[in-house]
Symmetry: C2
Subunit: 248 residues, 2 copies
DNA sequence: TCGAATTTGTGCGTATGTATC
DNA sequence: GGATACATACGCACAAATTCG
């Protein structure tokens, strides 16, 4: 029977099936290049390319001089995106329980980039507070984010710096509530793509790995955008969780 | 200065920057292998690998005998995941407007697979109605999904087949309402990963491309799971859209 | 219509560097 | 030191598709 797939694809699919089927379990070593070469009567390059496909898919990761091992892809948790909690911008449901969630943030005033300005409904170049977040679970990076808030709303108040002052680290809703702005709605756009080399570096995963992308805008009761953010989440072991209530 | 990146990665990053910067616009042809070989004084394999990285990232796609061209990655729309609409399981916000949204479905009774049974809170192997969906925009596949509903709930009613009968093609809420079950809540888990070769085949994209994954469970007012589904969405041009209302 | 040139996609053999055992 | 293994890179080759003279 003719198999249209190229050799490297067939080898990669075979290995993926062996992993999914449990024949190769998490932590197990994938046959080495010389073994695969013999088994499939293929060249060095070809089997290497097959293994690269597996690694790009997050199924395995290589260790220099040791071998290539089946990666652990069981989800460690999910980031809760629909929570009404005002006390933290980083809530998660964890599978076993016992992972320390922390984050760091750095804020600098800046002119609004075009895309952020469009989402905020303000002229590009208007002054905004730009905050870069790094979210960690057990000291390992999970999510990178950057947020923009119009300084026209927060300048002169004590919530102007998201990570400083009496309302520090409270999350968007809690902080804006302190200056009399009720955040009642958020719109979130979710996508995915492969990580850039810079993102892969920051997230501690291989370049080209899959990441989930977020684009969120918060609105007050008058429908005015008060904050917008973009985030990149490691997709290998983290998911997003939405709770949808149907009204009426 | 020493650049730690391997040659193929440097070439790939260069090309990606030229695309992001607009030097190479959508539809433009990427320099051919022989041109890249000369430009970077690299080998055949190396430049080919660089271009493979670009293609895997969805930045470009090759055409046999013609060349490699910059892919159009502007979003064509977003799938609305929080809508209260009961009349369709496939709602979307479209960027220009004018894309025909259709879907096909095939249902067969089957024993519940382990994961689906766990999410439905029923014993594995219990009879369920298993429905496979294919969602299309302008005849091109956007999303694949498979849904499970316990036959204990729907057997003998006229909503047992999601795509047949008086309440056909209505979506989960509308159909269950017809048999007196009020679906008031859904929980959705969103992740992403690279497509399997089978998924890539069905979605009409290259194997290894990034897809967004969905895992949704619908609950009635007593908190009982009445339906669960898994879906795979093309990530190159489609996103998910959530509307989050903060109560209280 | 034929043929040559170009380009992608795949594949083989070999070599080098580096890390681990 | 030596064997093994990964990661990168070079040179070459061929099939299939397109383009152009």
């Amino acid at each position: 029977m003719g198999d249209a797939r190229p050799v490297y694809q067939r080898i990669a699919d075979d290995l993926r099936e062996r992993i999914d089927g449990g024949d190769l379990s998490v932590g197990a070593q994938i046959p080495s290049r010389s073994q695969l070469k013999r088994a499939y009567a293929a060249s060095d390059q070809t089997v290497d390319r097959a293994v690269r496909v597996l690694k790009a898919a997050g199924y395995a990761q290589g260790q220099f001089g040791r071998g290539v091992f089946v990666a652990d892809r069981t989800p460690v948790g999910s980031l809760l995106r629909s929570t009404g909690a005002v006390d933290s911008p980083f809530a998660a449901r964890l599978v076993p329980g016992g992972v320390a969630l922390t984050w760091e943030a750095v804020s600098t005033p800046a002119p609004a980039p075009r895309e952020a300005a469009r989402r905020l409904g303000i002229p590009a170049g208007d002054r905004v507070m730009c905050t870069q977040y790094e979210y960690l679970a057990d000291r390992k990076p999970v999510q990178l984010a950057v947020s923009w808030e119009p300084l026209a709303l927060t300048d002169g108040t004590d919530v102007v710096f998201p990570e400083r002052g009496p309302y520090a680290r409270r999350g968007v809703r809690g902080r804006f509530a302190a200056i009399g702005i009720r955040v009642v709605r958020a719109a979130e756009l979710v996508g995915s793509r492969s990580a850039t080399t810079a993102e892969a570096e920051a997230l501690g995963c291989a370049p080209g790995q899959c990441v989930t992308t977020l684009e969120r805008t918060h609105y007050d009761e008058r429908g005015r955008a008060v904050e917008t953010s973009e985030a990149v989440v490691r997709a290998d072991r983290w998911r997003l969780e939405y709770d949808i209530a149907f009204t009426g």
